[in-house]
Subunit: 417 residues, 2 copies
């Protein structure tokens, strides 16, 4: 079955690739309209998914993530209209020139072809990914979380109706509706048809894809992010940034998990730090040297385990470690960071540049919250995923990350000598 | 053992990444000098490899590929000096700007870190890859063909001596000297230390890497390349291009393997085509419709098998098929091409653009030989590999393909609201 889906997607991609930006935007507008017109179908499918989820004892937080209502669906449709406003990277000439051989050459930006996306129980991702793929001339095969499979199926059918209104094959956007996990394993082997695979989920999903996929995979989304408070940094300003990086949205991958504090400022820093953390309900996990001074403060504190340095908290918990200097901070980050987002807070221009050049992460911040690592915040207008690998795209992936290029060479019956 | 090599390479990469372009060029000059100074060591190791290869009955062609002599070693050293002349992409600001939040952001081009390369019995590749990796601030782990393991080991020792002369860790360039194939399997799992894996070899090696590597892999190097002769093309000019694409270097991946001829010109084209192919000693493999007219010509001809459309000949053999029109030519290429290099020969501007936009290959040519797909020919100054996948790099990979970027953001104690 997946083989057939792959074939159909590849075939559809040959038609989608030929659309102009104006034509693609018309399709997107129809999708937005259709999502509103057919909202009752999607909402009723979503209600069934919710009922099952409640019966299976899903937590209130997850139920909320899964839930659609007219306002949320309206928001999703208006996001699609926003995508129309973005510049289309396809067709851009990256570079080129006239070669000594007489060949006129250019690198032309083109769609990838077929994009595969595996994601969890967020029903908005279906429309999000479909609209970004279509905007960049790609077909897509989507595999959403099994908890939302009815919602996803209904949503994709609405998208397919919009495609057919424009005379386009509905196989341009397909969902794997069967929640059987074995189909994921089959999907990972469809390298003949799928050009890029984006897993959006936890560490387990990324590992599964990295180890089993024969399709090039984008790894990312896991953020063990650090903030290093250098000795030149003022305490109050540092505390504001730390609270923002931890609390603005604790469950996000770009929230801070470990604070590294220069040992020389422990004396002036740790007391107000503990007071502020207590006020913000942030629980501390401190290393051997920091735990004694912190225990006399008001914030909850326990001893940090090595494994806690390696995993995301995604909650109001924060590791704290004293370091001798910037070198020890960089060494700690090299050992424990997932290369997502790391920050230095400093007034030293030399240390700022040193940190930026030595920390090997997708995003490196000087005197700013790690929470900025985001396609919207970085001005990309959209975000398909956040990559923490180094090939193809790194950090927030916008429309450009859904394209590749081809070399086009025009000769005049030109021979290689 | 490989775990330790990986660790050491990653550690060395942190030092190499800090070098300026001038410092890196000095190291490269020392490597070139050292290759000349220590040529006796390398040539004697090469003689032992050659003696073993002769004993194992290696063909004359392969022996020649494996063989080093003073002139070839001199050429290798001068290639290293050439690499010094190339512009260093590291440090380049790709784009950036001031965001509404007040963040000043830039995408800064940086080395990948550690590059893994698996290649066959070409001793020049060792120096080639090492110099390109160092030029771009990367460390490298090399695994050459077992037939040249002594030559490679001696060469890497010479490179390491040059590194140490500059106070750099010799683990920046390491070779897996043990020819045991099991070590390749271990190397494929070193995703913790190796950032990108480049296999340079046949289809079997690429399949092994795609299926087993947990490191992002660059697939490529396999070229089933096509030339389509459209009905508006003159016969003589077409024949010159076909001969160039087949004969200029038949064993190269960018040589043509299948010729597609518009049915409407079969009458005027096939007779002179057969005469020219006979003259050039090119053996034809023709489809059902082309075989009868070709059998009356002087060129050797047999019936083509479907499997022959799928594999590289890499010899003076050429498949020939008649197609109804450009659509059938494109459909054939979509089915059988390895997406390396495909060409149209035409005088129709509409068909040229149609072919260019519909053929999904790394390089698409209009009125030129497919033999131009090459880093040197395309003006990149060097070539690490030719990618036929769509992620990261496509077609000839120059220095830029050995880099990634990081997002660097400077704030003024900037918080996300």
């Amino acid at each position: 079955m997946l083989e057939k889906m792959g074939q159909a997607a590849k075939k559809a991609s040959y038609q989608i690739v030929q659309l102009s930006s104006a034509e693609k935007n018309q399709v997107l507008m129809t999708i937005a309209d259709q999502l509103e017109a057919d909202s009752a179908i999607i909402l009723s499918a979503n209600e069934q998914d919710l009922a099952d989820a409640r019966q299976n004892g899903m937590s209130a937080a997850l139920l909320d993530r899964l839930m659609l209502n007219p306002a949320r669906l309206q928001g999703i449709a208006s996001d699609v209209r926003q995508v129309c406003q973005l510049a289309d990277p396809v067709g851009q000439i990256i570079d080129g020139g006239l070669l000594d051989s007489g060949l006129r050459i250019e690198r032309r930006r083109v769609p990838l072809g077929v994009v595969g996306v595996i994601y969890e129980a967020r029903p908005n991702v279906t429309v999000d990914v479909a609209s970004l793929c279509l905007k960049t001339g790609n077909a897509a095969i989507l595999r959403g979380g099994k908890e939302t499979y009815r919602t996803n199926a209904a949503t994709v059918q609405v998208i397919q109706r919009a495609l057919e209104k424009h005379g386009l094959p509905k196989s341009a956007i397909q969902a794997i509706e069967n929640p059987d996990r074995e189909l994921v394993n089959q999907m990972l082997k469809l390298d003949r048809y799928i050009d890029m695979l984006i897993p959006r989920g936890g560490a387990g999903l990324h590992k599964l894809c990295r180890e089993n996929s024969t399709i090039p995979v984008i790894s990312g989304g896991i953020g063990v992010c650090h903030i290093f408070v250098d000795e030149s940094m003022e305490t109050e300003a540092a505390l504001d940034i730390i609270v923002n990086a931890k609390k603005q949205r604790p469950s996000a991958c770009n929230s801070v998990e470990t604070l590294l504090v220069h040992r020389n400022i422990a004396g002036r820093f740790l007391v107000p730090f503990s007071a502020r953390m207590a006020q913000e309900n942030i629980k501390l996990h401190a290393d051997g040297n920091a735990i004694a001074p912190l225990q006399s403060g008001p914030a909850a504190v326990s001893a940090v385990q090595d494994s806690e340095y390696r995993d995301e908290w995604l909650s109001l918990d924060l590791n704290v470690k004293l370091v001798d200097d910037i070198d020890e901070a960089v060494a700690h980050i090299r050992e424990y960071s997932t290369q997502h987002s790391d920050a230095i807070l400093t007034r030293s221009i030399a240390n700022a540049e040193r940190f930026v050049s030595q920390v090997d992460s997708a995003a490196v911040f000087v005197n700013a919250s790690t929470r900025f690592t985001d396609g919207g915040q970085f001005g990309l207008g959209a975000e398909v995923a956040v990559s923490t690998q180094k090939l193809h795209a790194r950090g927030p992936m916008g429309l450009e990350a859904l394209t590749t290029y081809k070399w086009v060479a025009f000769g005049q019956d030109t021979l290689r000598s």
